[in-house]
Amino acid sequence: MTGAEPVAATPEGGKLAENIMHFARILRGAGVPVGPGRVIAALEALHLNCMARREDLYWTLHALFVSRRDQHAIFDQAFEAFWRAPKMREQLLSLLLAEIARSGPQDEKRAAARRLAEAMFDADQHRPRLREDQPDIEVDAQFSASLDEVLRRKDFEQMSLEEQAQARAAIARLRVLRRKVPIRRFEAAHAGSKLDPRRTMRRSMRAGGELVDFAWRRRSERLPPLVVLCDISGSMSGYSRMFLHFLHALMTDRDRVHVFLFGTRLTNVTRELQRRDVDEALERVAGAVADWSGGTRIGAALHAFNFQWARRVLGQGATLILITDGLDREDASLVATEMARLRRSAKRLIWLNPLLRFEGFEARADGIRAMLPHVDEFRPAHSLASLEDLAEALFKPPSGAHDPRHWLSSAAA
């Protein structure tokens, strides 16, 4: 029933098995983690008569080799190239050569093609030849598009040891972000509010059935998620580096932190920032983000966050920190709509704005005026010192000074 027999020795099956192994190697090279266990499972599936049709082969291998939705695109292209159109490989390779000096492609499709091309280049020598009589395939010309955006890769300077220490100290003082909340799960406790019947019964059996010693339990606690949306557009470039160090320190300090960067588009850099070494982490972030110091489209970025991520990362009483100067030349009504939704999804929404450092700051820009009514707190953030202020202030109940309405009324007056 589970098809545990050894691999059939038919010539056809033998060749298919070999091709499956090469295909797995290509996928692996392209970043889809296909372990040997998966390959063995695929060889097992050979006996189940489920690869006779091309479509069935596709979905069988898909079920076995793909484990996340975002791997679908790369699987699809790899399958197309490997099992249907060997000629596509050459086109991918030439594209790779043309593109090699360019900065990291953001378009998912393009990134997939690049990784795929690299993987195929590696695996090419070992691969058995497939049929040669293939029609010409047009490779999607979008691979080299999107020049209208300011795509600049940026190097991070190294933060001094002292700066790093300061950042850590500032984080440690961010007490409010460390305030735990009770969850539904229980844990054993010396003195709790609820009887733990399972442990009580076990103890009493040790005493021969006498209920001498009650065991207690209480609700466990954990830190609620912390989500940071950080603006990295041109007007923020003076602060981006510091914030990234701050966010990296935050990330290594506690769990359940999600970080998104946005300029003209939204990038989830949570995985990249998780590297323990700060330089390595920031290098990866630089590689992942394509729109350093470009324009800002706050509305579009918030829209993307609300639709793709909010439901996945803002559960369980998450705190959301939005770091931006709020300068957006686009439609302010979209910003307002998306901010309203954002506030409804998060437990607490804090806006850190570096512009607030300037004396006489007034909330005059349309974008700022659209965003202000929807935040719980509006604070300056231009130095580690101000972050420390933030930490201290947040530990107390919110004071009137950071009430966003204050800025709206003062600007109107």
Binding site: M1, G3, A63, R69, I183, R185, R341
Partner: protein, 306 residues
Amino acid sequence: MTTLPATIDETLTRLSASGYVADRPLATVLYLALRMGRPLFLEGEAGVGKTEIAKVLAAMLGRSLIRLQCYEGLDVAAAVYEWNYPAQMIEIRLAEAAGTIDRERLATDIFAERFLIRRPLLQALDGPLGAAPVLLIDELDRTDEAFEAYLLEILSDFQVTIPELGTIRANTPPIVIITSNRTREIHDALKRRCLYHWVDYPDAERERAIIAARAPQAAAVLADEVVAFVQALRREDLYKRPGIAETIDWVSALHALDRIALDPETINDTLGVLLKYQDDIARMEGPAAQRLLAEVQAELAARGRL
């Protein structure tokens, strides 16, 4: 109990005989999961019929369906087993009253199987020989990582250990279907033990077949219009796009209102059946719905279906 399907085609026919209109990719992974004895991990938006797959599978194979609905804080006591403490207490008191307290014997008596309350996972492992049930672990993304880690052990070895009783191992591994709405990412370690499939919204043709199977009372013209309208709606920029369940509800609602064709007013009045967020409703109400309906009707007319 009936046997497992022998080919993908047979899986497809038997699914449709059980009232589930599947596409070939889904039939392929179901067939594989059944034949390879591996858990099947289904991801997709809410309302695309993931849970329904498990139900239909149980009906199709004549197996019982055991459902574990996941929620935050789900723990072993609620998912696997718990002892019946009140009954155990009484047992102790009875032994005391009889005046014959033998510590060793009391311990074995107290932790006997008759005091064990079986929760879904234990029930699924503890089924009769050869007739493994279908185990549905629904909305796994709602639990926390701790429970996910616990599942790893059960899913790879199909056994649980109860300290007082020992290890309980499944005679025949259950057929496991895990679903996730993707409100958070499930750990790779768990996914690695499963076959993976993303369940998408159906295309128009399949959605019409689903309506025909699930709401046969609806007039054909109405069904065509409804499906075309919902398909168009899913292309709009909505916070929550309507699932198949919503389409079926809508057809039933329109039928209950005695409508045989769509008109802008009816759509406005019943939009809440399809869309579940006020923002989305506000966005689609009035002229937007009217425009969409006009497009849909023009398209249907062009294809000679109206």
